[in-house]
Symmetry: C2
Subunit: 470 residues, 2 copies
């Protein structure tokens, strides 16, 4: 298929004041006023890329990673009934988004032949005891491949989950447990990297300098995708296509910069939240992936000059048409504090006709002979219309289809948008200083060596608080 | 077990200025200043209940509904391999919350004997063609019970989905299709009610006056719960317990009113979003249920005096500990525009120990010999601590366990809180005028009889818009 026909397009008509009014819309001059800054940012990105300091944008061209994974997948085809992905945050959200978008919606319930004998896919991205114990009720560790995914190699949630399954694997398989493990971690540093070397465990490397939330196109996302029969080449190819499309400094031609600029300008007009609203079950988890990318990158206490700014748009996920019956009342009538980003699928994998009903009735007649495809498309158009009439700014990313190629595109467009928007907000989009405090407090509560003093201080602090409970 | 020990408690220490400072906290006087209004609202609710005009609060005492469902369930035990619940919005979110909270986390993957031969449970709350076609790949309609749930009896998404499965059922079962259908709808009105009467199809009634988002304790939620072996009696009993606990006009003793008052007061201090953050996979879908309840009830254009107010807090769902690696950076460092509502489980169904690792290493040593239960509890405490230090107001609903009894409580507490908060905002929490426009536009786009003129007007409107796309 012609790649141009698989291009994701960004329709931003309904943020423009001509269509939604001046109070909540943007004028063309608002965008044009950002052109000079955009050019500077663009050429700075160009220089950074040349120095390999923006490595996520080079991932589409690192084809050897795909070959390496292909080799593993081919050598191990048919060996595993189950795949368990142990990772959290950036180590899980991308892979889950890929899984949900590209596999059968009830994948794990399909018989093996309908999965082409690829394993059932499980993602453990929480430490809920009931979920972990529950998983052991439905998988046999001896027939399972466990992938342990942590960039640092030491994430508490991931390592503790690994310890539980490691002990099960060793009990079931003795020394053969190694063949049931894959580590995806830093190429050089950390506990897992050392363990991989010491115990000769299969491992893949997360490209240095690529943070968790930008890592879906490294083995973090590619390995489970390819293990379950999806095309890593096409994911990278779609991402590469997006890098090219976003290779222009012209703001009005660059979907990543446009999305960023619209978010930035509307944030300054009081739209502090952006609701990603896919009209497709397959893309709901992509909205989850976006939530991390946007929140963790742009939610910051200080700017680049170390001034306290407490800035950051709040990403919200919603699902069309489902949330029309839950959130749209608020979206249409509530405060003017949101921007909406629809994800629209122009052609679904399946066409589902609505058969006629026996007796004529106004409740059924207008549906009979149409299709669910037409209905979901009509509802998206109707919601978009209602929002626009109520002066709620909204954009639409139009997916010709949901495929590896389009998913690769949206990942890259939104990642570039994140880096760009970080510059507009004048913050560092690649750090996450605000999560450190909770991590250290967890060590203290868990009695980690060296944290005794911290624990005492925390206990004193908690004891000094006044408790209100009912 | 002693019911008092199963009481949900609301800890609101961390919204009080003594603990988080005056800028973002509430003083005791702020709450006390609402006591008079609270008393008025309370006694007005009391009068409304006597006139049966607040019927959701009477649901805990309508035990005959439970008996009716019990009768059906007993008569049909073991007949179905699958249950498919066709409903959207209030007809789906409650039942899904119950399912997720109280069943095995991988329920549909369990062998029948581990489900005590109750059916696998599927909820179709979207019209995504790929999901609907996909479901047909994994169920045999001839072994499936379909429940069609719509209060009006005419919801487009529900009826179209029903039409698809109706045709499959009739093809597979000829005249016996009736035994594979249950309708849950208005006792008197609408298309489904008429069809139930004409075709002698099993039906249950949604209590008149109870809106979709308040309907989880009607057959909407009770039927799928009880069909899959859960206790309807206990759900109602928990809800009744909450009605009693919230039976006081003393704001400081009433968890529903307190939660509402805190939300209202902090909204006025610029905290326009409330993030429900369960530290439990089981309760994640309860946060989804809450999203509808809160958004659709409180997000309103006009107040009771018909003045334009565009009011409404934005409910957001997040999941602990998972979203610590996605949203907490923003929550701790971003704008001061959120209130957090933790859901904490004190005792999980399972205890999962973390076994020691072979060789000592600081990465694993502090985890070894502890449990996942302790880890998730430590992380919740750590996140709460970090938020509180950063002056982010937060409350915690403490669940002794997740059970029918506690779930019934939280449903009722939050429903009463919704009615009460609607009064504080001086809006009608029981209507949803903002969704009508999209519904009518959908009819127009679908070519419904009588909407031709509307369609032409919409097409003209759309054609007059300037398109911006890249």
């Amino acid at each position: 298929m012609d790649k141009q026909k698989l291009e994701i397009r960004l329709d931003y008509s309904n943020v423009m004041s001509e269509n939604i009014g001046e109070t909540h819309g943007l004028a063309r001059q608002d965008l044009e006023a950002l052109q000079d800054r955009t050019r500077d940012i663009h050429f700075d990105f160009y220089r950074l890329r040349e120095r390999k300091e923006l490595p996520f944008m080079n991932l589409p061209y690192e084809k050897e990673v795909v070959d390496e994974i292909k080799h593993y997948v081919e050598a191990n085809r048919g060996r595993f009934e189950n795949y368990v992905h142990i990772g959290i945050g950036g180590s899980a959200l991308g892979p889950i988004a890929v899984q949900a978008a590209l596999h059968h919606p009830f994948y794990n319930l399909l018989p093996p032949e309908k999965r082409r004998h690829a394993p059932r896919m499980f993602f453990l991205d929480n430490i809920d005891p009931d979920r972990i114990a529950g998983l052991l009720d439905v998988i046999d560790p001896a027939k399972t491949l466990f992938s342990v995914v942590t960039k640092s190699g030491g994430t508490a949630e991931t390592i503790s989950t690994f310890m539980i399954f490691m002990s099960r694997l060793q009990a079931a398989l003795k020394n053969k447990y190694r063949d049931h493990l894959v580590f995806i971690t830093d190429p050089v540093k950390g506990f897992l990297r050392k363990l991989a070397a010491d115990e000769h465990i299969q491992s893949f490397s997360i490209t240095p300098g690529v943070g968790g939330r930008f890592s879906v196109l490294t083995p973090v996302g590619l390995f489970p995708a390819m293990l379950s029969g999806l095309s890593g080449d096409e994911l990278l190819s779609g991402a590469g296509f997006a890098v090219s499309k976003c290779g222009t400094e012209d703001l009005l031609q660059n979907p990543a910069y446009l999305f960023g600029a619209i978010n930035y300008l509307l944030y300054r007009k009081g739209k502090r939240s952006v609701v990603m609203l896919p009209y497709s079950d397959r893309l709901y988890r992509t909205a989850d992936w976006f939530r991390q990318l946007w929140a963790e990158s742009l939610g910051k206490r200080v700017n680049l000059k170390k001034e306290v700014v407490h800035v950051g748009p709040t990403p919200i996920k919603a699902l069309g048409v489902t949330d029309q019956h839950s959130q749209v009342q608020l979206y249409v009538e509530g405060p003017f504090d949101k921007l909406f980003a629809f994800l629209e699928v122009e052609s679904f994998s399946e066409t589902v006709p609505i058969p006629p009903f026996e007796k004529p009735d106004p409740t059924t007649d207008y549906l009979a002979g149409k299709s669910m495809n037409r209905l979901i498309s009509a509802e998206k158009k109707a919601t978009e219309l209602a929002m626009t009439r109520h002066e709620r700014p909204n954009v639409t990313f139009k997916f010709p289809v949901v495929s590896e190629f389009t998913l690769g595109q949206i990942f890259m467009i939104l990642e570039i948008a994140t880096a760009y928007t970080g510059r507009l907000f004048e913050i560092d989009p690649f750090n996450q200083p605000g999560v450190e405090e909770g991590k250290l407090a967890t060590y203290a509560f868990m009695g980690r060596e060296g944290f005794q003093e911290k624990r005492k201080l925390i206990e004193d602090e908690l004891n000094s608080r006044k408790i209100y409970q009912v």
